[in-house]
């Protein structure tokens, strides 16, 4: 019963792991899951059998993150896998993404919803081109915190100096990128040092274990204190079941908070009104915050439909028909600037066109390559956009949920790119 009660009120942290098989990424995840008792006996039996079949003397925890048959055959990871574990204080969702260069799109996908990133490094190798790439992408996607997991400490006799060298090298490179926090942790995932347990190999290290960092990192704090943004998903007409005979506007609060009586702006119309009520299936609320799905009613009759935004009247978003953004191209077909796309931002879908492509971002060095001849899969470029109807947006740097969009190809319906507003 104790256990059940403890699992009732816990927070949720989403994080991404970046690194390659060579850095021991799968072993770190396997160790987190295994030592936090998230591994079931039948899963363990399956990977023990596989380990034996492959002639390994010990059970390879990395096999826990093996996914599809297609991947097992090729010995690679082809996509983002989501994994779940919990401790008495927190629930965790891991976005496990592959490290190969050609899968930038998967890393961007996993990073888009993460509160924190773990960047895996092999202590013997230090900062590699892929470390730089992952770190730049993590920064680009607006993840505020990175844990630098300096792994394989057992292979350098657990020397503090080896850890310090890699740590300093990383900070020299990433210290100025604008992260809120960089937390270096030495570890040996293979032997279990400093992942969940402290182990015996690193007595000189007095900082938190990886799990302690994950348990203590703030969750969506910034989002609650950002200005109020509410993209309208659906309109509930009075006939549909009424709230004080008013229309109800359904959606999930993207950022900020709201209380009954507060004034709001409806965009793109630009009309100012006040919140009359906040409704849920479980009854009315006096206030609500980022992340909550609610139904809002307003004091005035305003013509609002899906795609409109209800926002803070004192700190409204920009409402505009052209903007600049960083674009990560996902499609195997290179960008054709003469084509029209559907721009999906918030709950609004509008037709849009790309104007000029200013530069391509080299994700290994963060350098700008001006006027690229082609924008191909996994390229990140800065571009200007024109949209048919105004969108109510913020810069991605100031408001992640309201500063992002995706591009959909009108013909194939594929999601061809992800964008972050500047």
């Amino acid at each position: 019963m104790d256990q059940a009660e403890r699992t009732m009120h816990t927070e949720l942290l989403r994080f991404i792991t970046c690194g390659s098989v060579d850095d021991g990424k799968s072993t770190v995840i396997g160790r987190l899951l295994y030592d936090s008792k998230a591994i079931f006996e039948d899963q363990l039996a399956a990977i023990t059998a596989t380990s034996q079949r492959r002639g390994l003397s010990e059970t390879d925890l990395a096999l826990l993150t093996d996914g599809l048959q297609a991947e097992r055959e090729q010995g690679i990871t082809i996509d983002v896998a989501y994994r779940y574990f919990s401790t008495p204080v927190r629930r965790f969702i891991i976005a496990d993404t592959p490290g190969h260069e050609q899968y930038t799109r998967n890393m961007v996908t996993g990073a888009s919803t993460a509160d924190l990133a773990i960047i895996l490094m092999d202590v013997r190798k230090g900062v590699l081109p892929q470390t730089r790439r992952h770190t730049h992408l993590v920064r680009l996607l607006g993840i505020p915190r990175v844990v630098v997991a300096v792994n394989k400490m057992d292979l350098v006799q657990y020397q503090a100096s080896a850890f310090e060298k890699v740590r300093d090298e990383f900070i020299a490179f990433a210290g100025s990128l604008g992260f809120e926090e960089i937390i270096p942790v030495p570890m040996s995932a293979l032997h279990g040092d400093m992942v969940v347990e402290r182990g015996s190999g690193l007595p000189w290290y007095t900082g938190p274990t990886l799990l302690q960092v994950l348990e203590r990192a703030p969750v969506d704090e910034a989002l609650v204190h950002a200005p109020f943004r509410f993209p309208v998903q659906l309109v509930q007409r009075p006939g549909d079941g009424e709230h004080e005979a008013r229309r109800g506007y359904q959606g999930r609060i993207a950022s900020g908070s709201i209380a009954v009586g507060e004034s709001v702006t409806v965009l793109p119309a630009g009309i100012v009104t006040t919140i009359a009520g906040i409704h849920t299936f479980d009854g009315p609320l006096q206030d609500a915050r980022a992340g909550q799905s609610v139904t809002l009613t307003l004091s005035d009759q305003v013509d609002i439909s899906r795609g409109d935004m209800i926002a803070s009247a004192s700190l409204p978003p920009r409402s505009e028909k052209s903007f600049e953004a960083l674009l990560c191209w996902f499609s195997t077909t290179p960008l054709d600037v003469n084509r029209r796309f559907l721009v999906r931002q918030g709950t609004r879908t509008v037709q849009g066109k790309i104007g000029t492509v200013a530069y391509k971002l080299d994700v290994n060095t963060s350098e700008h390559v001006p006027a690229p001849a082609q924008v191909a899969m996994n390229d990140i470029v800065k571009a200007t956009f024109k949209v048919q109807h105004p969108v109510a947006v913020d810069s991605y740097g100031s408001n992640r949920p309201n500063g992002c969009f995706i591009l959909i190809d009108e013909v194939s319906n594929d999601t061809v790119a992800a964008g972050m507003l500047l």
Binding site: Q69, Y82, R83, P227, F281, R306, S314, S398
Partner: protein, 318 residues
């Protein structure tokens, strides 16, 4: 510039700065699921919600109430009946649909077999895989462009890699190597005629989350989820229920044990676990410390090969 912006935000915030504790994880999962259901209602023309009477789909119905009440659900409930369902679960399915006053469409694998659209080698074989045929036929019959399902990523490896809005071509096939990128909470629900989506609002829930939510919302579940006495035989690590469809094999000893079901799928491939948990709270306590996965303990069909689920999904299974 950035600094200026931040200062003005903080000026506005102090009266509510201390007011908001971080959302509880169940609230966060619930809000995410409501958001997803409303996206389906807004973006899809003919959605449906797959309801089997099992615990995950029971949670889905409560989430639909949270998303759409006091209005009606913007979709019918659909059940693909394998013909091998536990009678308690079917009774519960009908009871719950009536209670909610929502439309329930039932299509049966039996009919697909009779029409020669699905083949079985023996009358008592598992029909789990055959559900895919009937499901795809039902999607075509009603022109559904989206089916909401209660699958969770923690259930199985293939599911762990599936998108929340999972695209299916006109054959209902899932192509794991060619999934649409899914970022933030911007879901792409666009499909051509004949194609469809499977949408999984509780993708990020675990078995424990489902039971915790059932407890929190005081949801009714079919009785066989609770501990009861049942005739079983031991087969490998599993307890196989003795039914007309699953008689004991020669030499097997029938025992009467206190058991409960963790999943309630096709009778021929669903096993109970030994348990005395007769309340939701007791089930949560057991789930929190359980040592075998839900499917490992209960599903014979996922034991056949490491890639069973992956293969079935490629054939149109949800």
């Amino acid at each position: 510039m950035q600094q200026e912006h931040l200062t003005s935000v903080i000026d506005l915030a102090p009266h509510r700065a201390g007011r908001f504790e971080p959302l509880d994880h169940l609230d966060r999962l619930e809000s995410e699921a409501i958001h997803i259901m409303r996206e389906v209602a807004a973006e899809c023309r003919h959605p449906a919600l797959l309801f089997s009477g099992g615990k995950d789909s029971i949670v889905m119905l409560r989430l639909a109430e949270k998303a759409f009440r006091p209005g009606r659900f913007p979709f019918p409930l659909v059940h693909i009946d394998t013909g091998h369902n536990f009678p308690e679960v079917l009774a519960f399915r009908d009871h719950r649909a009536t209670q909610l006053g929502e439309r329930l469409i039932v299509r049966s694998v039996e009919d697909s077999i009779r029409q020669g659209r699905a083949r079985v080698s023996g009358p008592n074989d598992s029909r789990n895989a055959l559900q895919a045929v009937t499901l795809v036929d039902t999607i075509n019959e009603f022109q559904f462009d989206a089916c909401l399902g209660g699958a969770r990523r923690d259930e199985e490896k293939a599911r762990a890699k599936e998108r929340i809005f999972s695209f299916r071509d006109e054959f209902g096939v899932w192509d794991p190597k060619n999934q649409r990128p899914e970022l933030w909470d911007l879901y792409n629900a666009r499909v051509h005629p004949g194609e469809n989506l499977r949408v999984f609002p509780i993708s990020n829930w675990t078995e424990l989350d489902v039971w915790s939510y059932i407890a929190r919302e005081a949801l009714e579940v079919p009785e066989i989820y609770y501990a009861h006495e049942r005739a079983v035989v031991r087969r490998g690590v599993q307890l196989v229920p003795v039914t007309a469809l699953t008689p004991p094999r020669p030499g097997e000893v029938v025992e009467h044990l206190s058991v409960r079901f963790r999943t309630v799928g096709d009778i021929t491939c669903t096993c109970p676990v030994a348990s005395h948990a007769d309340t939701v709270e007791a089930i949560i306590a057991e789930t929190a410390v359980t040592s075998v996965t839900e499917r490992g303990a209960t599903r014979m069909d996922d034991q056949t090969s490491e890639a069973s689920m992956e293969l079935r999904k490629k054939q149109g299974y949800f």
